[in-house]
Symmetry: C2
Subunit: 387 residues, 2 copies
Amino acid sequence: MKRIYLDNIAGTPIHPEVKEAMIPFLEGNYGNPQSLHSFGAEVNRAVKNAREKTASLINCTPEEIFFTSSGTESNNFALKGIAWANQKKGNHIIISAIEHQSILHSAKALERMGFKTSIVPVDKFGLVSPDDVAKSITSETILVSIMLANSEVGTIEPVKDIAKIVKEKGIVFHTDAVGAVGNIPVDVNELGVDLLSLSGSQFYGPKGAAALFIKKGVRVLPFIDGGIQEEGRRAGTENVSGIVGLGKAAEMAKIEIPGRMAYLSALRNRMIKELPEKIKNIYVTGHPENRLPHHASFCIEFIEGEAMLLRLDMEGIAVSSGSACTSRALKTSHVLVAMKIPAALAQGSIVFSLNIFNTNDDVDFVLKVFPPIVDLLRKMSPLYQGK
Amino acid sequence: MKRIYLDNIAGTPIHPEVKEAMIPFLEGNYGNPQSLHSFGAEVNRAVKNAREKTASLINCTPEEIFFTSSGTESNNFALKGIAWANQKKGNHIIISAIEHQSILHSAKALERMGFKTSIVPVDKFGLVSPDDVAKSITSETILVSIMLANSEVGTIEPVKDIAKIVKEKGIVFHTDAVGAVGNIPVDVNELGVDLLSLSGSQFYGPKGAAALFIKKGVRVLPFIDGGIQEEGRRAGTENVSGIVGLGKAAEMAKIEIPGRMAYLSALRNRMIKELPEKIKNIYVTGHPENRLPHHASFCIEFIEGEAMLLRLDMEGIAVSSGSACTSRALKTSHVLVAMKIPAALAQGSIVFSLNIFNTNDDVDFVLKVFPPIVDLLRKMSPLYQGK
């Protein structure tokens, strides 16, 4: 059976060139990059090279890149590292209502330690208003964290405008750019952010390798304490093969992003245009234009997202009904709730996220297979009776 | 030039069978284990299998294994997770003077949060005395963490005896077994520990994949907050290829440890016996018998460890002069200081740590090459004049 992977927000395939770059570090190049001998030195050079490539992708210096094990760890590091470093200045943090679980739960953990969180709302497109952020700032505010792009609804936030307001007040600004980096151009200077999270698994790198950008001069307490790795700010033996893979993925993304965006948005636009022609009561979620190029998300009335997901899976098509980090929790998405999508409709959430190996044939197949699945499920659904 | 890697405390080579097990997860099997579709399911099964193998190696249940990105993260998770979960019970933590930097610095970070640390001493062999631990316990003690084996001097600690005392008082006991697991038999039930850190990179698994054993019923706050991975206790997309590699390494270790120990200790014993026959003023560090089977460590008078390391490197031999996590810091080892080895002698620290691919020929080469290096360096050393 042909299998079509359209759940790339949960992690992309690894690019074959990324895999090839990683292999030597699973074989002969097994030195520890902190070791002083030649086995260590050759691996140290590879980590250094990966750091340069990762920095180049977001236009920062290599010294501003700190490798971590996941976007989630980067987000924990950012929130907790900044909060702990600034607790004498204040105890107030601002985030948005559609942040990733790693931001929401880090904020909750910090609340248990005495910090307070304000959660700014979003509009029906999932957009955060810079004004709302401005209004939430108090004299106690030490950190604002607003994501760059939401993986569940694809919306790209006005981070540049928000950062400007936050920085004018002299407050640290972090953006969770895990869904964005590698998929759209991201420049930390243009955005004006102090910290930025990214993850290789979102742009053809391996799972297990991610990074946090920390602008030079920004004080952050270490999150993982121990040895001298990552300038003493993130201890632990480096995941060398993963870091090398992330570096290679960053190098490729830097060159290929424009082409990828053009290619993927064309495929994506077909889904956004043609699925509503074939399915009734289907609504695009997220912003119609300011959205990730590989991302098509919908709510479909009278059906459970999980049911669609499982039926599509039987046809070889992998999609998601929200974030992979919560998918097995089977809760209504907090993102859709924040966008004030009615709970019944939010249950029918489905996300098609493309990768560069997907083709027009894949989209054709989805357009052929999916509408009959919707029809079938609706006939089976007690929610649909009489509609 | 023939190259001989004898710095396996800084991480072993990856076993070819481990690498082969990992490759599918760098290629076709790129699903997110939390995804509900078949791409996710097949990867989820692989993570589950790795969890079972890792559990089996230390004789716990799979539900008691929590994957992390490094031994350092496991140690941070253990200390901080236990401290935060028990701060209403007390604020006192006991560790030993020869713990890894990730334990020492986690304890320091906790001190900044209001916790207090007692550091129990070691004897000249690097052994912690169970009595000293008992004497350090107060009504405020919530956690004792004593390592199972020290990577710098090879000494295996009387963890079973220490755990017995600690558990009789109803206090949580953690052991950093990163240097031990996979190299000697480790059974969490026999040891009687509540938490145990291990790392795949110490026994032919990849860097970036490690685990924390948390005994069922022991309350630990999450260290990395976010999604539902690892039962909500350690969030972040799983490093699938790394975890699969760790599982394979654990499976192999379970079977091969007795043979590995016999093979490696024979090679090691040659170094411990024959080097002192060829070099004057050389002293074995650590315990003469209760030590890791692949581990030979020395202090050599009148020479800097770094100088030996670099000279050996020129001959193709990789060794270390302490922990890789501190090697670039070039400080005198806190382990040797704690063992009351005079600072001048501690400067001459050198560690030969073997792997299963090393041979008697490798040892022959070291025995041939190293003594002349020592002679040469001594002639060049101002410390040696007139000795």
